[in-house]
Every structure is written in structure tokens, then in C-alpha cells.
Amino acid sequence: MIRFDNVTKLYPTQNNAALHDLTLEVEKGEFVFLVGPSGSGKSTFLRLVLKEEKPTSGWIRVAGKDLHRLSNWKVPQLRRRIGTVFQDFRLLPNKTVFENIAFALQVIGKSRRQINRDVPAVIELVGLGGKEDRLPDQLSGGEQQRVAVARAFVNRPLILLADEPTGNLDPATSVGIMKLLDRINRTGTTVVMATHDQSIVDQMRKRVIELDHGHVVRDQSRGVYGYAR
């Protein structure tokens, strides 16, 4: 589903590579934690998958597409097959829960019929039934993140990328979000989650890829966050 071959990413203003000769593969349907300190290359990895950045060298394949050969105008097509969730939710404050999720379908030209069918279903899936008409600031942080997950998932992407989705949430709420991501993963969606949250990684017992200064220092199935640090 995601395959990196000898990928190096250098940012023009920095001397050290953000990713250094990275080779890894994420299979379809996997749930992968990307861990490592700040600046270890987690976000760069996610941005490369979305083709928000281009690698300095190396090959990347995502959802069967060779990103090297993917022309710029086809990038939106790629992103429709990838859902993305961020630490800061990124909801539109003047739109309701329903409208926020529907927005993702509207702007890729889906019909109103399809929106009226898919949005309520995904609201139900993330457990926000009955809160369709709330505005984001009338929701708790956990609920807002559920809206963001719903928006990322409503188009049934092949891959869900999550960049510290629990970073702004308390532990109990985080567990709820993780259960949700796990449920999404069980539908066959590949989930890649960058996180600092040690307890979550330890609880989930999924594959863990640890990055440090752009190198993979650990790739472990059913891993924990790390050794005593």
C-alpha cells in the first residue's frame, strides 16, 4: 500500500536529511505506529505519502501509484484515496458537524444524494449520532477529533494518515479515538499514525516503526513505544 525505496529527503535550508535512505513497506490493511522524537522525520514521511513534498531521491509508491511519475494535476486523485487527521482537528468553525464532513465530499464533486447517504452513516460510525447540527466549538476536543476522523473516512480512503491525533486529548478521550481508528482499520483501511503517546502504543500492540534523525532504528510487529527512556 505504501512503499518507500531508498528515500532521502533534504530540505533546502537544513544540512541534515529529514529522511535518510529510508526503505520500508506498509501492507494493505496494516496498522502502523510511527514513533520517534520531534524532528525524527515522522511528519516528513506523512507529507511525502501525500505528495505535499517530493523526495530528494528514491522511489515512493502509494496505493499502486508511482509518485515519481504522478503528474501534479493527478495529485488530487491520489489524495482522495488518503484520509488525513491532524492534532489540531482542522475543522471549519462556521460549519456544523454535518457540513464539515459534507464539505469533503462537496469539493470533490460528489452528488447531494451521495452526501446525504454517506455523511449520516459516517457520523453514526464515529459515534456522533444526534450531534450533526452542532458547531465545532460546541463539541469537546474528543468529539471534534471524531468529526475530523469522520471527514477523513467519509470517502472510504484506502489509507488513513494520522499525525498525532491524540496530541491534544486527555488519556481517556484518546482511548476512544484509538478504538475508532482500530474500527476503521478493521474495515480494511491501512492506518499510519505518527505519535508520541507511549501508553497508546503500548496498549495497541501493533507494528511500530521508530525513526531517529531520518533513519529507521526499529521496525517491530506488535511492538511497544520503546525501551526505558
Binding site: L78, V107, I108, N155
Partner: protein, 301 residues
């Protein structure tokens, strides 16, 4: 493509940036108005050239009995002198036709061109007889002028284009000024559009960020911005078109034309019908292209 979404986006966008939108409309309107004025002046110059150059003649005025001076020492031109002059003219290779205008005919023309009370104050014998010479090539008049200028009985040789020169100089000057102002204002309009787009893109960065993330096409993301600017440009150009029409209806038809009765060559409404669509197209295109280029920078994929 969901039309409803785009329409509502344009509506909110225009309202949110109302002051900047108005600034764009006004600058586009003024720059297009000057451009339109320039086109109007050009059309006016062309109309006048067409009107006059067809009729351009060399007029060889001959002495009448009241003329005095070094050319007309003997008073009224004699028949022999007239025959000599006509002979020189008809023999000249550049001359196409020679037409004699008597004092009576000159008086008739005078009456046509000026109000009756002026015409009544003079008599035919105060006017001059003349040969009206049509040239094969209106550009090559010097040879004919010098051939007859010194002949006895000739009071004055007038190339009619000399009379028109000042007119065209004024028109060309105005034309240059109008186009120069139009260009300066056009630059101002483009800078304003750039700034407006930048503000609009910034105020909507959340929306556009999410749109990029969920895979909306570039075209779809940029379209509301481009249409907004194009609408502002269109409104500005419509105002400019109305301004040009007013210049024609009021300034030319009511003010200038009545004070230059002897000129019967003014831009018509058909010229306006050509100019206004150009202004609309230029206003819309300029705005849309400026928006498009700005967006390349501020809404990167």
C-alpha cells in the same frame, strides 16, 4: 462540479473583501474608461481622416479685386493668368482632376458652412476664385504646390491637410495621454488584484487547506477566487463602458459637435458598439489572468 457551492463561495468572498473588491472595481473602471477614451479618440481620428482625406484637395486661391500685396499687385486675376494656371495644373503628372470654383460657387459653400447672418454680411465678390486640385496620391502634394505657388494671379496655395494637422496633433496627444493613464491605472489595478487575492487566499486558508487535503482539484479550489475577481473586473468594465457611452452622448453630441459645425465627422454609436465589448473583454481577461497568476503563488498544491 457543484454550482451551488461555487456561487455561495463567490458571494461570501465578495462580501468578506468588500472594500478590496470595491477598490478593484473602481481601478478597473477608471483604467478601462481611459482605455475606452483612447479607443474613442482613435476612432474619432480615423473618422476624420476618412472624411477629409477623401476630399483632400489643393486649393489654388486667386486674387480678387480687393486683394493687395506682393502677389496681387494688379487686383483681380485676369483670364489669361487663369488659363496659364490651369494649363500648369492639368499638365502636372501628379494631378488627377482640376475643378474651377467661381466666386458664386464659393459663396454657396460659404453659406452652407456658416450661419445665415454671417453669410449675409459678405458678398460673392469678396470671395476668391480657386482651382480645386485632386491629386493622384494625396501624400505627394509638394510638387504641385511649388509648381503654381509663384505664378502671377495666384494669391495663396493651400494644402488642406495643413489645416487638419493641428487637429490630428491634438487628437494624437490626447490619445497618447489617455493610453498612458490607462496603462498606469492598469498596473495599479493588477497590483490591487494581487493584493486582494492574497488577502482572500489568506482569509480562506483553512478551507483551501482542507480542500487540498481531501483531494479537491486545483481548478475547483481556484475557481471561486478567479470568478470573484473576474466579476469585479466585469463590473468595473461595465462602468467604464457606460462612461464611454456618456462621453459620446453628452460630451461629443451635446457639447463638442455643436461648437464645431463645420466638422461633420464624429464617432458614431457603431464605434461605441465596437469599443464597449473590447473593454468588457479586456476588463474580465485582465482580472482573471491577474488572479490566476497570483493564485499560482498563494494556493500551491
Amino acid at each position: 462540479m457543484r454550482l451551488q457551492y461555487i456561487v455561495s463561495e463567490i458571494g461570501t468572498g465578495l462580501r468578506r473583501n468588500l472594500t478590496m473588491t470595491l477598490a478593484v472595481i473602481i481601478t478597473v473602471a477608471i483604467s478601462m474608461a481611459f482605455l475606452g477614451t483612447g479607443m474613442l479618440l482613435r476612432a474619432q481620428a480615423e473618422t476624420m481622416k476618412g472624411y477629409w482625406y477623401d476630399k483632400v484637395q489643393i486649393s489654388v486661391f486667386m486674387c480678387n479685386e480687393y486683394d493687395r500685396g506682393e502677389r496681387c499687385t494688379d487686383g483681380m486675376v485676369t483670364d489669361e493668368q487663369k488659363a496659364d494656371i490651369e494649363q500648369v495644373l492639368t499638365a502636372h503628372p501628379e494631378v488627377k482632376t482640376v475643378h474651377f470654383e467661381s466666386q458664386e460657387q464659393a459663396y454657396e459653400h460659404f453659406k452652407e458652412q456658416f450661419a445665415d447672418d454671417i453669410a449675409e454680411s459678405i458678398t460673392p465678390d469678396q470671395l476668391q476664385e480657386s482651382f480645386r486640385v485632386e491629386l493622384k496620391d494625396p501624400e505627394r502634394f509638394e510638387g504641385v504646390v511649388s509648381a503654381v505657388a509663384g505664378l502671377p494671379g495666384v494669391h495663396q496655395v493651400q494644402d488642406q491637410r495643413d489645416l487638419l494637422e493641428p487637429f490630428f496633433r491634438v487628437i494624437n496627444g490626447l490619445l497618447f495621454g489617455a493610453v498612458a493613464i490607462a496603462v498606469i491605472l492598469l498596473v495599479a489595478a493588477i497590483l490591487l488584484i494581487t493584493n486582494t487575492i492574497r488577502l482572500a487566499a489568506f482569509s480562506r486558508r483553512r478551507e483551501t487547506g482542507i480542500m487540498r487535503l481531501v483531494g479537491a482539484s486545483n481548478f475547483y479550489i481556484q475557481l471561486p477566487f478567479i470568478l470573484e475577481t473576474a466579476i469585479a473586473g466585469f463590473v468595473g468594465a461595465v462602468l467604464a463602458g457606460a462612461g464611454v457611452a456618456l462621453i459620446k452622448a453628452i460630451l461629443i453630441d451635446r457639447v463638442i459637435a455643436p461648437s464645431f459645425l463645420f466638422i461633420d465627422a464624429w464617432v458614431g454609436w457603431s464605434d461605441i458598439l465596437v469599443i464597449v465589448p473590447w473593454l468588457l473583454a479586456a476588463g474580465v481577461m485582465m482580472s482573471a489572468v491577474a488572479a490566476f497568476i497570483t493564485l499560482r503563488r498563494y494556493l500551491r498544491v
